[in-house]
Symmetry: C2
């Protein structure tokens, strides 16, 4: 095991511990027995996960000379609450049934309604409860961040980045809705969505938060590094996500095979497919993409076209090329050698993952 | 015009100004032309409103000796962002078409999708965009609060109340969903929902925030006052809301006549109706309440039963009695005379409003 893989294990267990402590501190506020399903859903959506966002934040902090401070794990772990909130709301917006192989939050609450034989629409109850759960996680992410115990000077320096990240995430997700609704799906628009809906808050901003917390200010080299490394890894991270959404192994992704095809997600993979497809292939894609009833044969047919048009290979090439650029951007960044190695390893991990 | 009515006018215009300034400061972050509908929807849902929550906060601050400070208006105005977020999400959860006589946020985005002839489900787009808009408003409420410019010592003292209020709001709304889903609808459960879903964050917590900000600590008399006055006015506020949802004038409420009947809201008004109704009346209520297609005749019939059973009069009596208790609770509170008068006037305004 390399030093940075060992460090990632430490980060994961510290993040798990911080999240558990935080949720435990909320319990007195949400102690009414009827609220138990809300808390257990929150806990479930916070468990597991690759903890990549906290890891970017952690290595930003250490890269800019931050010392060992357990409060940093708490601040970094708060990014997982933001992420959990986004996933819960995303699944409502996409009407997704599964998340990591388990029922999505709204389906979970819907099942509770059905099991108890309550009045009214179980589906509407499920959606409402999931919206509220996502809000709770969103509120808690800010609360955990502020209450991390990091020095006020660090938190004050990073506050603007933190605020910006959250507004940007909501705007990025709105751009993603528009991308799905618009028919254009150009390379440019697909790239922009990949960056704003996911790349920024998954990589660039967590890294920037760690760096600014440690440096207690937003120095020009920090923005240069975050824009170069963060942008490249962020886009490549989302391109990997797009590929997993079509070609991922359900046993690893926890989502049905080809789920993004059934949802009709307009990604770079699809933009490249349509750009290189024959008129006959375009007709097939237009007819099948976004069909909620798409079966295994249909998924296989679309996968075939995505491969035959060279779109899959082109996206893999893009990932490689963004990864190279990201690794190069680390060369002259004034960060510690240990952080440089760890960020290089994280870039590889984030873009070659299988879940 | 009384002194406190004049003060309310000042509060309203200062809150409007603060909100406008805050949204203007966000504009550079959300400057992409495609994001314009998100911003204009935010602005629309922030305009108007009675600004009661900021007024409770303002009079808490002044009551506990807070001086004139424009930053207080900014902190108080942030409560309107929280409220706007709750309304936008509420309308999604209730599938409401109208808000203050205009299309609700999700219907607005749905109409944009339809007008532009975009791909996919206009309804799903509308809901997704409204969830994101509500999130943006929720994030901004915290940001505006923290960035108000009030002294750090004040903000630090009030932070726990602020955090608590937000968690409590989400839990209260979840309890409301449960109340609608459960069949019991007892007086106790209706009262609890009225308090937690609306009363606490509308009255008790805004007042507590103002008091704690000024006193820079949560002194025992503050909690005593907030629990007595806040609880009474908060519950009476929601009881008035329940009555307006059934008997309100659409020209004033901006909601269709009897909308709560169509949505099947289980409120104190309904609990009291069912408790006093004859078996024949219960049958009518059970058959008609929650019917989305309920017409004017049906609304009239249900209104008749609510009046005949004495439920309407009983709820009006409850409001009067809570109001009396609230006014009494002000007597020995160690607050300024001006604040005492203003809080008495506000209690009347909040419980006798027609919109």
């Amino acid at each position: 095991m390399t030093a940075s893989a060992a460090a990632l294990d430490t980060i994961r267990s510290e993040v798990d511990r911080s999240l558990k402590e935080f949720v435990d501190r909320q319990r007195p506020l949400v102690s009414a027995p009827e609220l138990a399903p809300l808390i257990s859903a929150a806990e479930e959506f916070l468990s597991g996960g690759k903890r990549l966002r906290p890891a970017f934040c952690y290595w930003g902090w250490h890269g800019a000379g931050g010392g060992d401070d357990p409060a940093l794990f708490t601040a970094a772990a708060s990014l997982e609450l933001l992420q959990a909130s986004a996933l819960v709301h995303d699944d409502v917006m996409d009407a997704s049934d599964l998340r990591r192989g388990m029922p999505s939050a709204h389906r979970r609450f819907q099942a509770l309604h059905e099991k108890e034989g309550w009045r009214g629409s179980a589906e509407q109850f499920g959606e409402g409860a999931a919206i509220l759960l996502g809000n709770l996680l969103l509120i808690w992410s800010g609360e955990m961040w502020r209450g991390s115990g990091l020095p006020q000077a660090s938190l004050a320096a990073a506050q603007e980045v933190h605020d910006h990240m959250r507004t940007e995430l909501m705007c990025g997700q709105y751009l993603d809705l528009l991308e799905q609704a618009h028919a254009d799906n150009t390379f440019d628009s697909a790239l922009r969505v990949a960056l704003f809906k996911s790349g920024k808050y998954s990589v660039e901003q967590p890294l920037r938060l760690g760096l600014v917390l440690a440096a207690r200010g937003r120095e020009p080299w920090i923005d240069r590094l975050c824009e170069a490394y963060g942008r490249c890894v962020g886009i490549a991270f989302q391109l990997r996500d797009d590929i997993l959404g079509v070609f991922g192994d359900p046993a690893e992704t926890g989502k049905p095979a080809g789920d993004d095809l059934r949802e009709g997600k307009r990604t770079m993979l699809i933009a490249r497919t349509l750009a290189a497809a024959s008129p006959a292939q375009v007709k097939v894609v237009d007819g099948m993409l976004g069909d909620p009833g798409l079966d295994a044969a249909g998924v296989g047919r679309l996968r075939g076209i995505i491969e035959e048009t060279g779109a899959l290979a082109a996206c893999e090439d893009m990932i490689k090329s963004y990864l190279d650029d990201a690794l190069n951007s680390l060369d002259d960044a004034p960060i510690t050698g240990e952080a440089r190695t760890a960020l290089a390893d994280l870039a590889v991990a984030a873009t070659s993952r299988r879940t």
